[in-house]
């Protein structure tokens, strides 16, 4: 690990100010950042420890939703009564991720910003556009089991590994951000992550010093919520494919519908356009197949991950079937 400075601000303006200095990084649970620092994949000159900031609570919003402080741990969030009752999908996604020890440390903000698990990103001797812009992408033509079938570019085919973010994507979450001027803005999660294009090193809309203060969920919509994660072992493995679904059926037709997919793209994948295929229709296998076709229309495998195309197809159809089971 490279020598670095460490500061632990106790209040807000100080935190964003410290972080806006070049070479700084926030540290929350540290479960991702410290691993990357040991390997010198990330080598910040200063760590701004945000654990003293007052962002560790969940609270109800006036709109009937939930505001989740950025420092709420994954364990606490999964166990939160409000979450378990109104957003069971989120609770299940969290519990499907990492391990008990990690979830005890991992935070909501850190989870959103965890870096890809691409093997080559972790190997400082391998070219990687995300780590060293312009150096090339080693994954293309290499081992690609973990990689994206949607949203990738010729510069980067990495996936975003989070389970939590996939659930939040289906729940229409928004990210609350405070900047160095002390202004707060709210960005829908759908707009929060950037696709790699030719700048895979830029992963989100966050600017220098920007701090995630909370994630806000809108009031729960009626319907069944499902999180289905498919992985290489029964626990403690990242998703090969995951499906988060919120589907409401009224009078035999699909009312509200939100589907997000993990393990397949550089960000939690959601296709609002495609969802229109489902809205207002009677649930049927034929309908689900059409939806799957649309979702996967531009899917492209890299060899080692070709199987994700049929796997996502099957998993999302099965998820839709169980979400609409009772009404069919």
């Amino acid at each position: 690990m490279r020598p670095f400075d460490y500061v632990r601000p106790s209040g807000m303006p100080e935190a964003t100010r410290e972080a806006s200095r070049a070479g700084s990084a926030f540290i929350a649970g540290g479960t991702n950042l410290l691993d990357l620092m040991k390997l010198e994949v990330m080598a910040p000159d200063r760590l701004v420890d945000i654990n003293r900031l007052d962002m560790g609570e969940c609270s109800a919003t006036p709109a009937g939703g939930l505001r989740i402080g950025a420092l709420v741990t994954n364990s606490d969030l999964a166990a939160d009564e409000h979450v378990r009752r109104d957003y069971p999908l989120l609770s299940r996604a969290l519990l499907a991720g990492a391990s008990g020890q990690l979830r005890n440390k991992a935070t909501t903000g850190g989870n959103l910003l965890q870096r890809t698990r691409c093997y080559y990103f972790y190997d400082t001797s391998a070219p990687c556009n995300k780590r060293e812009p312009g150096s090339g992408c080693s994954a293309i033509g290499g081992a690609t089991r973990l990689h994206a079938i949607l949203g990738a570019s010729e510069h980067c085919i990495a996936t975003h590994p989070s389970d939590m973010a996939v659930a939040m994507q289906a729940l229409d979450a928004a990210v609350e951000i405070e900047n160095v001027e002390g202004q707060t803005r709210s960005v829908p999660l759908s707009d929060f992550y950037r696709l790699p294009g030719d700048t895979p090193q830029v992963e989100t809309v966050l600017g220098s010093g920007d701090l995630i203060t909370a994630v806000v969920l809108p009031a729960p919509v009626k319907g069944s919520q499902i999180y289905r994660k498919v992985r290489d072992r029964a626990s403690y493995a990242f998703a090969l494919v995951s499906v988060a679904a919120v589907v409401g059926v009224e009078d035999g037709t699909i009312g509200s519908v939100a589907l997000a997919f993990g393990g397949v793209a550089p960000r939690p994948w959601r296709d609002h356009e495609a969802e229109r295929i489902l809205a207002g229709e009677r649930p049927s296998d034929e309908l689900f197949a059409r939806f799957a076709d649309e979702i996967l229309r531009e899917a492209r495998g890299q060899g080692g991950n070709d199987f994700k195309i049929p796997l996502l197809r099957r998993t999302l159809i099965a998820t839709l079937q169980s979400a609409t089971d009772e009404s069919r």
């Binding site: 698990r117 080559y120 972790y122 089991r145 290489d232 072992r233 990242f238 099957r314």
Partner: protein, 730 residues
């Protein structure tokens, strides 16, 4: 005084059975368990040493070539850095098990990605690690050989590993049922919990190394040879080893580099491999391509058996994964062809990993046997039973003992095998298809030269040997043998292990540890009994030793009294002899598994698994069972998740951490049942015990794969059985 036994004749006296203490075989807890769970057992990297500094290895990033230049001065100028070392004696790769001499050395010629080329020594670990990332090594790359199956690469066929008997082609042509299929198994890493680590200290010309090693006698010679010094000057201390699984059989980079560095900086040096270095610099199991041919008559009697294996290895290494080791004797078939081929490759060195040979060879053979059973419409258990030979089918030697038949029967009974529905896809629970599968287990057995000193004093018994306990239970098992023989309660027995200053043994490996070193302890105890008998003026056979007392007729004397302040100390030596040659020795067993395959995603979950094993006398029912549980857990990993993924362009291991190298986790492992069969093998050892450590994995993966077929009708011939391979045909 030395007591000596050469194992030339079978020992049918079963002496341990006529003793009175009643501890042998008992499921006693491991004596060192409390130390380990309380964190007070000291591992190699944890010894408090004054003026200690730290070293970190620097790796090659190319697969083949040589070092042109090392830009050392910028790094030497860094904070805390004491030295940058690229000594000629650095190892290319660790020594193979029982080598007793240094492996290939020299950090200038590069043979694989990850090969250590230099090390940086610094005051603190963090300084050394950072400095190591900054060391620029200029290399010149030459063409590497990276494809293990390339047709254009030469293949070697080592003598003594090939069998050709009868006419297999003809048997195949005339068979009522036959199988001819190609299977693949991937590379594996031992992935022991404790990474390879060493602390080296020099005192003048004498070297002491605290290291994590499995075979101290050999490691001492390997280290001395690597350094170019006399073995008498080297002491290795290794009382606790946090798992080895073969990766710590031979001396490795850590000990050699730490010793070189300690000499260079004139201070003690600690060196621990990082997890990623463990993956890329310590022994991997070779991947394999295996072709199996089975020819059977209408009743399923094998008339022909072919097993061709292709494995890889670095140039210049003699070891190669002995894939067909058990195929030579497991099933009868008149026409046989066993071929063993090696391709020289620029990948991390291949070596012994968890039951080298049988782990993958039995797995593939037993997958093919299942295919034959399906094809012939014969129950898989019945098919195996029908083909058990009554003597070694190749060299006609008798078996020392043979319990496969019993293991199969007992397993089928316990698992309720008769309820299995042979037709795939016949049992469904919602999305999940349920299936049952089984396979045979076999692992060759061997006795090795071993020595132990046993001292009976007024306070109790002391056992000393350089044997190691790699988490297997050696401390406890040796104490049980001495306790039984000398009638001394367990709490008055001390076992001292893991120090080359103690009498040498063969170490932990090849499953021979407990039976070999245990026999040395036994031999010493026999002599001590004889001496006590002499003191009491009776025959050793008429002597009862129990609870610290010697009893003859109606006379009971406290051992303490009898010995006074003249302890009896005997060095027991056992050596393999005629019994290793006259008979074929193996352990046997059977595996049964029930799995569920998800009909949507092709995920596989093992629902229950049973192993029935016969390994001669069981010395401690608990530690033996634990060994089997460990083996079966590895079997689950081999079947479903474990695989070294090599980059096709440079052979590097891309999944070199425990997040991406998928060992089974708790959620992958259901309730495992182990049944140990009562057996005494008089040919194996004077204590009638055989090795059990590796038996639990030897064929285990096949029962799961066979169950997958029974569940969903998809036959996967490439391990591990990951969901993508099933999905393709689901």
């Amino acid at each position: 005084m030395t007591a000596y036994l050469k194992m030339d004749e079978p020992d049918r006296r079963n002496r341990l059975d006529s003793m009175a203490q009643g501890v042998i075989g008992q499921p006693l807890d491991r004596m060192e368990g409390p130390l380990k769970v309380s964190g007070t057992a000291r591992y190699a990297h944890e010894w408090p040493v004054e003026r200690l500094c730290h070293a970190v290895l620097v790796r090659s990033t190319i697969a083949r070539g040589h070092v042109v230049r090392i830009d050392r001065s910028p790094v030497e100028a860094m904070d805390g850095v004491l030295a940058v070392i690229d000594d000629d004696r650095l190892l290319r790769n660790p020594a193979q098990g029982t080598a007793g001499k240094a492996p290939v050395q020299g950090p200038r010629e590069i043979f694989y990605v990850g090969q250590p080329l230099a090390l940086v020594v610094a005051e603190s670990f963090e300084q050394a690690r950072h400095a190591a990332t900054q060391l620029r090594i200029e290399t010149m790359a030459t063409e590497a050989v990276l494809d293990p199956e390339s047709e254009s690469t030469d293949r070697e066929r080592p003598e003594g590993k090939q069998t050709s008997q009868g006419d297999l082609d003809r048997a195949m042509a005339e068979a009522s049922h036959s199988i001819d299929a190609v299977y693949h198994t991937p590379g594996h890493s031992s992935a022991a919990m404790e990474p390879h680590a060493a602390i080296a200290q020099w005192d003048g010309d004498d070297l002491t190394v605290h290291a994590s090693c499995q075979m101290l006698k050999y490691n001492q010679e390997e280290l001395a040879d690597a350094l170019g010094i006399d073995a008498g000057r080297v002491r290795i201390v290794s009382p606790y080893v946090g798992g080895g699984f073969g990766s710590k059989l031979g001396i490795a980079h850590d000990a050699v580099a730490a010793a070189i560095a300690a000499r260079a900086v004139g201070r003690p040096v600690a060196l621990a491999l990082s997890r990623r270095q463990v993956f890329e610099t310590t022994m991997r199991r070779s991947e394999s391509r295996q072709r199996i041919r089975l020819a059977a008559d209408a009743d399923g009697l094998l008339t022909g058996l072919g097993h061709e294996a292709l494995v890889s290895q670095l140039p210049g290494e003699t070891f190669s994964e002995p894939v067909a080791q058990a195929t030579h004797f497991l099933y009868a078939a008149e026409n046989r062809e066993i071929i063993h081929e090696i391709v020289r490759l620029n990948r991390t060195c291949a070596g012994s990993v968890r039951a080298p040979g049988e782990a993958i060879g039995m797995t593939v053979l037993e997958t093919a046997m299942d295919e034959l059973a399906v094809k012939a419409g014969i129950d898989p258990v019945a098919l195996r039973k029908r083909n058990i030979p009554d003597k070694d089918p190749e060299d006609q030697r008798p078996f020392s003992s043979h319990m496969l038949d019993q293991a199969l029967d007992r397993g089928a009974e316990l698992f309720d095998w008769q309820r299995r529905r042979p037709e795939p896809r016949s049992t469904r629970r919602g999305e999940w298809l349920i299936g049952l599968g089984m396979s045979s287990a076999a692992r060759v057995n061997s006795l090795m030269q071993a020595e132990s000193r046993v001292t009976l004093g007024g306070e109790g018994v002391r056992i000393e040997t350089d044997m190691t306990d790699i988490g297997t239970g050696t401390y406890t098992v040796l104490a049980q043998i001495a306790g039984e023989m000398l009638g001394v309660p367990m709490d008055r027995i001390t076992t001292v292990l893991g120090d080359t200053d103690l009498p040498p043994g063969p170490g932990s490996g090849g499953s021979w540890g407990a039976s070999s070193t245990g026999s040395a302890v036994y031999v010493a105890c026999e002599e001590i009994r004889a001496r006590i008998a002499r003191k009491l003026g009776c025959r050793a056979e008429d002597l009862t030793l129990k609870d610290g007392h010697a009893i003859t007729g109606n006379r009971s004397t406290a051992l303490g009294e009898l010995i006074g302040d003249a302890p009896i100390s005997v060095r027991g030596v056992v050596e393999p002899g005629g019994t290793s040659k006259k008979v074929r020795q193996s352990t046997y067993g059977a595996f049964f598994a029930e799995v569920a395959v998800n009909d949507v995603t092709a995920e596989v979950r093992v629902r229950r698994m049973l192993g029935v094993f016969a390994a001669g006398r069981i010395l401690n029912a608990k530690t033996a069972r634990s060994q089997c549980l460990g083996g079966m857990t590895f079997g689950i990993g081999m079947a479903l998740t474990e695989e070294l993924i090599h980059d096709p362009r440079d052979g590097s291991i891309v999944n070199r951490d425990l997040a991406e190298y998928h060992l089974p986790v708790n959620a992958d492992v259901p309730q495992l049942e182990v049944e140990l069969l009562e057996e005494r093998d008089p040919w194996a050892s004077p204590i009638q015990a055989k090795g059990i450590g590796e038996l639990g994995i030897s064929g285990a993966a096949a029962c799961i794969n066979n169950a997958v077929f029974n569940a969903c009708g998809v036959r996967v011939r490439s391990y591990p059985v990951t969901l993508d391979k099933i999905l393709a045909e689901l």
